[in-house]
Symmetry: C2
Subunit: 244 residues, 2 copies
């Protein structure tokens, strides 16, 4: 048995998320096929997270394990990238310590969300940013972000119908900044509920552009999805880093 930890970037547009599903294109299936082609043996792939259809990653972490040959770590990304489709890349490889699990060992994650805050669409970010025409007051947005920080019950920021009952999470950082027409949200937490980042971003973007919604503290206290704002679309969301 040998395991390699792979740091992976992918553009999620053409995939039904990370996790293997029968008959559907998934990033996990693409990575597994590339590994089996390079390693020449059956390879098990374990990811750090499921990601939704259309969500992207710059620093997804996966474990490739099995009866794998030893390959120099500097060459492994290049070899795998040759076998991967153009929208998936292995950017780093390292040897996995015995017993490493990409999901259970993760201490937290950082997501980044991009908004194109313009009335005019941008052909170069159509698949990687949310086109949001109303002007966002980014100082206000950043101050709203700060109200999420801490160990709180985020039930209001979980997709309706989700089965999870322990909805307490610790948000360690959440910020908004502007770069021209692009508004960038960055959020870190020890874990995320289903659609949590997308509902947080949707709520802050709406409030900071004039939509009447309750105060963030009230929305959190309500423990009611209906009190929060819209779910921002998947295409602006990037899994940026996993903390171990």
């Amino acid at each position: 048995m040998r395991g390699y930890i792979l740091k992976i970037a992918y553009k999620g547009t053409n995939y039904c998320g990370w996790q293997v599903q029968p008959e559907k294109p998934t990033v996990q299936a693409a990575v597994q096929a590339a590994c089996e082609s390079v390693f020449g043996v059956e390879t098990s792939i374990t990811g750090c997270s499921r990601t939704d259809s259309g969500v992207h990653a710059k620093g997804f972490v996966a474990l490739a394990s099995g009866n794998l040959p030893e390959i120099p770590l500097a060459s492994l990304p290049l070899a795998l990238n040759t076998a991967l489709p153009c929208d998936v890349a292995v950017i780093e490889a390292e040897n996995a310590p015995e017993g490493f699990h990409p999901r259970y060992d993760a201490k937290g994650k950082e997501y980044v969300y991009y908004i194109n805050n313009s009335r005019i669409k941008d052909p170069f970010s159509e698949e990687t940013a949310w086109l949001f025409p109303r002007k966002i007051n980014v100082e206000l947005a950043d101050s709203l972000c700060k109200e999420f920080i801490g160990r709180q019950d985020f039930a209001s920021f979980m997709a309706a119908g989700s089965k999870i009952t322990d909805t307490v999470r610790t948000v360690s950082a959440f910020s908004a900044e502007r770069n021209g027409d692009t508004v960038i949200f960055r959020v870190s937490a020890d874990g995320f509920l289903y659609n949590m980042v997308r509902i947080m971003v949707g709520t802050v973007a709406e409030k900071a552009s004039g939509t009447a919604l309750p105060d963030i503290k009230e929305i959190i206290a309500a423990r009611d999805r209906a009190k929060a704002g819209v779910t921002a679309p998947a295409k602006g969301l990037f899994l940026n880093k996993v903390f171990y």
Copy 2:
């Protein structure tokens, strides 16, 4: 008769360039279809330039003319964008002065070229940058760029087989800079020969990363395409601005 000047951005990946060709997807055909749908009458579209298959634009200039209705200039881009495919956007519209011609009236153009200077591919710039693995010395590259500036005969930087005989052009600016793994070339001239920017960028990138090639002055003096370096691929090239 009424004319609108349209400033257009497009991702050229899925188009056989700007200019209409029978049976092929072109940006001009897409713009014409959108105009005719919004204006409700036959519309003539004239572009500032042909661009090659796969080349992009951030500031392409086109004239839409015909028996067109008057539409408020602030609304026109939004109306046209609704009718355009997702990889083409009208970013500005203004009234055309009588007799305006986007190509003949242009005094010059600026192109930008992006290189991903890394051994590792980037899923987010696969269609908009040239993956160039050998390290480019960007200070050297920038100093090589400067040798192109001025009124010179650029026959060595024209695609072999081109029919043009007057190969003298004035390059007013040419620079290279690095932003992380991205190397950005920016070049302005009063006109460009066929593939001129791509051969200039290919030659500088090769020389600044260790390929043995003659000095730029010698290559220019030779008036021989075979003396210059490779033609950089279309996908890294953007028509950025047109000067009038």
